[in-house]
Amino acid sequence: MSQPLLSVQNLDVSFTFQDGDYAALKNISFSVYPKEIVGIVGESGCGKSLTSHAILGMLPTNAMIKKGSIQYRGTDLVSLTNEEWQSIRGSAISMIFQEPMTSLNPLLTIGRQISEVLKKHTGFCNKEIKEMTIALMKEVGLPRAEELYRAYPHQLSGGMRQRVVIAIALIGEADLVIADEPTTALDVTIQLQILELFRKLKQTRNTSLVFISHDWGVIRKVCDRVIVMYAGHIVEEGPIEEILQHPKHPYTQGLIQSIPDYKKRGEPLHTIPGRVPALRERRGGCPFVDRCSLRMDICQTTYPEGKKHGNHQVKCHLYAQEAINI
């Protein structure tokens, strides 16, 4: 396989509160290869968004990287200065946010908000920048782009605003785009249109995408590979179809059983009892132990090692004997 574009190794992130430090991400390792779409799934509070913020160097002020590295094309991002970050953001790595309603500045025109990225990172003249912006606006499916260039966010619908946010992320031709629940705040029909747009962009552009969602339907539509996170840990990772057909971790199994399906019409929807433990409640052992129906004694005390079956990887004591250690 080719060199990874992004490689996260043994990343630990902690929050500092008055009563001490609490680990929010533990031992996170994964890679993203060129032209690949990787999904990150998990319930709220699992650390999906925190992972994406760490990759962009935009952790909240009370959060800190304790250990590990984040490499982008071989450069370690963890030790970058502010100026170095500014040259990476927008042009090498960019991000699409969940809330299209609030992620745009209400007082600036759409055109200015998109073209700003080019003004910062390239030396094109204003006319070229405007042409490139309008061309991209058309590419992401904004109708009457010339007119919308001068429009303000409040004049646009939610779906159109999300297309603007996507255009902002794409205009700098970043190699890696992180999309944090980009369709969650949208109507289902608009959601589908935006997912279609991602699929189209996957074919037309050389961009890798990290797609964060709690919605398996969304993940299945766009992703090649999926990472399942639980309470700050990666519990399972593998190709999307493989995970959907043969989930190994009890948490992944629970999640997949919770997907509503026509075949299960009339039956009550499956749920995983309990909730994600809060930061302060997390202790040693497997983080899922309290909610797991298959728990063993060892789960209470020891954190499971990662086991690899081909390109499918799982961290669970159930599979301790089965496969090769990594």
Partner: protein, 314 residues
């Protein structure tokens, strides 16, 4: 354009309403003006004669319309004390008060806004805490006290600025700038403090918004984010405060003009109230009211200019 016309019509309606209120208030004030002019021992015939001359024998409605039409024609009647048209009395006073008011508002903007940005940017550091404490003081202490302190320090001790009277703009620009400096600053200090505190808070609020995160993700420099994104949004509420400050400044000038012995409108207002010069007081109150309404009208237009979301009923 539609917005401006709508605002203009409400502006005119408000002035009409205010003129009606002012007129009514002066009608119900105790004391017959004719009696006041002629003194306590005038006989009833003389009083009736003067009432007729002043038009006091007509009905209230007639008097209101004649006063209002007079006002529109630029004829506000004669001042009782000065025995000359009200406009002539005001003519010399207006430049003094306007100079102080405009000067002090410019000082408020030029000092308050940069300091507000600075304090927001250094939020959490000791310098910011220190300056915030001072703004608290600036709000709490009345302007005439600042006036005394400024006179003592700059006028008496260092003798940098004159402490009373003024130099007209036509005579010497620099001289006028110097002579108006202390009163304007005394008037501006508490407003500066208000603007600093307000701007700091709105900037810090705006800095938490999602669009700032988007801007940061674009790789923009912190300076660009502050001046290109945050500041515009943060200035909207400050604009509202500025409207109030202008009204406040006109009121505050009454005290400050007395401290610095400046012959302005504030000074005149107090004199004409004590001498019951009703035509003068009535016109001045109307002028001040119109000015305040005008400032609010301008603020409304500025809103529209800054924020594209502002709509008719917005």
């Amino acid at each position: 354009m539609k917005y401006a016309l709508y605002k203009l019509s409400t502006f005119l309606m408000t002035i009409l309403l205010v003129s009606l209120i002012i007129f009514t208030v002066f009608q119900v004030l105790p004391g017959n003006p004719a009696q006041i002019i002629l003194g306590m021992d005038a006989d009833t015939q003389q009083i009736a004669q003067l009432e007729k001359e002043l038009g006091l024998d007509k009905s209230i409605g007639e008097r209101y319309t004649s006063w209002l039409s007079g006002f529109l024609m630029g004829d506000l009647g004669d001042s009782l004390k000065y025995q000359q048209p009200v406009l002539d009395v005001l003519k010399d006073r207006i430049p003094v008060t306007f100079s102080i008011a405009i000067y002090s508002i410019l000082l408020t903007i030029c000092i308050g806004i940069p300091l507000g940005i600075y304090i927001a940017r250094t939020d959490g550091r000791w310098i910011s805490v220190f300056l915030s404490m001072f703004t608290q003081l600036g709000i709490a202490v009345p302007s005439f006290w600042f006036a005394f302190v400024l006179i003592l320090v700059f006028g008496v001790t260092f003798q940098l600025f004159p402490t009373f009277g003024y130099v007209p703009w036509s005579e010497s620009f620099i001289g006028a700038l110097r002579s108006y400096f202390l009163p304007s600053l005394a008037l501006a200090i508490s407003n500066i403090a208000v603007v600093i505190r307000y701007l700091r808070n709105t900037i810090l609020d705006q800095a938490k918004m999602d669009y700032v995160r988007t801007a940061r993700c674009k790789g923009l420099r912190e300076k660009t984010i502050m001046y290109g994104h945050i500041l515009r949004n943060a200035l909207m509420p400050v604009l509202t405060i500025m409207g109030l400050i202008v009204a406040d400044t006109l009121g505050g000038s009454i005290i400050i003009e007395n401290v610095f012995a400046l012959p302005g409108l504030g000074n005149l207002l107090i004199q004409s109230i004590t001498s019951r010069d009703f035509p003068l007081v009535q016109s001045m109150v109307l002028y001040i009211a119109i000015l305040v309404i005008l400032v609010n009208f301008i603020v409304d237009l500025l809103y529209k200019l800054i924020d594209p979301r502002v709509r008719l009923k917005g």
